[in-house]
Subunit: 337 residues, 2 copies
């Protein structure tokens, strides 16, 4: 019934026939394996070229027991954070000749299970999980045997799972120390919901950088500009106003900056502001533009690719590692840009 045929009609046998050699010889020539006379090899390569021959990876994979594919399961419905990760991952894997299956599970365990099932059927060489929230997530229910599994921007409950995350705490320290270096003494922290591990880690980095923390300067709320505006208003009403604000993300930072602008409070002179994520459409559209912490997600994706390749080779084992963040200064913390 399936009449559909791949565009490449030619098989190795066709190449061999055209080159006037045997099947095995053609295979050796194309895989540079065994020892052939260079004349014969050239004959085969020529024939292959003329025919536009392209080996059938399916057959290769079937034989070798390795498919040169990996699956990526995202729980962020391909959101803003997943994108650069995917990009870095795909680049590195592609260079290694590995193709990437994309699956979107959107935090639906049933969907995720079906995806894993499908990927196992396709005999992927590895699996990458990624998710919007870098919180602990349950290990996938299915038996994966010893299939390499990597969690990126996401974590597993299994003790020695391989996880790759940005160093949120370090990033927060970067931000806070940047503000301290400006000579600021009362630094507020307006951030996201406390049930995000990233929020807790960033807060910890912030607190660790200060000689003493003032709890009235720490405000949790949703990840939105509206919250940034509200929090700014609250901070301004304080008897002892902050002279700097470290925001948990760039949307909050932008809300803060806009409110300060509305009230004609100079940024950064009166109050310096720094965000997190370095989301350029936010940070650069704001007036003034917002300094931020970049999580280097593309590098995270690239590192994930390298690590997964090592795991597939059987070289590397699990464990959590965190990649450093980078400070991106802009006008909201620097008087002369």
């Amino acid at each position: 019934m399936p009449e559909a045929k791949s565009p490449n009609r030619y098989t190795l046998r066709d190449v061999a026939r055209r080159a006037g050699v045997s099947l095995g010889t053609a295979s050796k020539a194309l895989n540079k394996s065994g020892t052939l006379r260079s004349e014969t090899r050239d004959k085969v390569l020529l024939a292959a070229n003329e025919l536009g021959f392209r080996p059938n990876d399916l057959a290769q994979a079937l034989h070798r027991g390795q498919s040169f594919t990996v699956g990526l399961i995202s729980n962020d419905s391909f959101g803003r954070f997943t994108m650069p990760i995917m990009e870095g991952l795909e680049t590195v894997l592609h260079e290694a000749g590995i193709a990437l299956f994309m699956c979107n599970a959107t935090d639906d365990p049933e969907r995720e299970k079906r995806h894993i099932d499908q990927l196992l059927g396709k005999r992927v060489d590895g699996l990458v999980f990624t998710g919007r929230r870098a919180d602990r997530r349950p290990a996938p229910g299915l038996a994966l045997g010893n299939l390499p599994v990597l969690y990126v921007f996401s974590q597993s409950d299994e003790p020695d799972a391989a996880c790759l995350l940005p160093d949120d705490e370090g990033g927060a320290r970067l931000a806070t120390e940047h503000l301290l270096a400006l000579g600021r003494t009362r630094i507020a922290h307006v951030t996201g919901p406390e049930d995000f591990e990233a929020v807790r880690l960033r807060r910890r980095g912030y607190e660790a950088s200060l000689s003493q923390v003032d709890p009235t300067l720490i405000l949790h709320g949703p990840w939105s500009e509206a919250w940034g505006r509200e929090a700014a208003t609250r901070l301004l009403a304080l008897p002892n106003r902050p002279d700097a604000i470290f925001a948990g993300n760039d949307q909050i930072a932008r809300g803060i900056v806009e409110t300060l602008r509305d009230k004609a409070i100079a940024v950064p002179d009166d109050i310096a502001v720094i965000g997190f994520d370095n989301w350029s459409v936010m940070a650069e559209a704001s007036r003034p533009q917002i300094s931020s912490i970049d999580m280097n997600l593309k590098s995270l994706g690239e590192e994930a690719g390298h690590r997964l390749i090592r795991m597939i080779r059987g070289e590397s084992q699990g464990g959590t590692s965190r990649l450093p963040c980078t400070l991106v200064p802009r006008a909201s913390t620097t008087t002369t840009p």
Copy 2:
């Protein structure tokens, strides 16, 4: 050398052995093909279950000449527009048991060629191209035979290529007519660079909705908030100010709204503003929130999936189709939200 083994060690032969039947019988039982005694079938299914048997798609594909995979090649480096398209596409394909290879070409022809090559090697059943700019793009250089190829949010030069796009012109008409329905008479259009086909189409829709167009009210510039701010300033300096502005995207719209806010011009009472893209982080963070036109990209992706499946079945042929946009009214055009 490749010692890597898939987690599923069990083969159909193992299942057959365990069920005490022949290989062929096991296959028939699992594929519900042929006619077997229900007793035998159950025996096989039981054995398969106990073993956690999962057929090897590679072997199936090799035999059937159909891989149940398709490739998606993005030129948007997995950007904001590609995401929802991917999401819709993946959902529909997954339901049909088809897995999606993700490739990022980023407008690099060489990279794109390598990706296509790899995908052909994997014997994909179809190919989807997508790109940030819905402009004409050259057909891929390689011979694809009669492999189904679909362009989504992107186009090909081949005359009868299958293309799926949002109806930009219709969307622009929706926006303009919405403003007209508010009783506005001087409607400006602040939009993106003229070399985008989408910009030209939206402008055409805008012009088509007006009884007479005033060229001084049409401004082209970059896709940024900064441009929105500048354009707004220019429009306000006009002797005969507009009473409504249709922006080419939500970033421009937001720049406009902010400038109006700065100058204490009431939105929508003095000047109504509508955007395009319905990018909620922009539209909903603005004060007031911005009405916009939604391109329904997720639906576009879903429709792409359905269409591609039809093409794979050999059912459907090429041609360009455009899917309708939707008006999403918010406070920037409606006095009582």
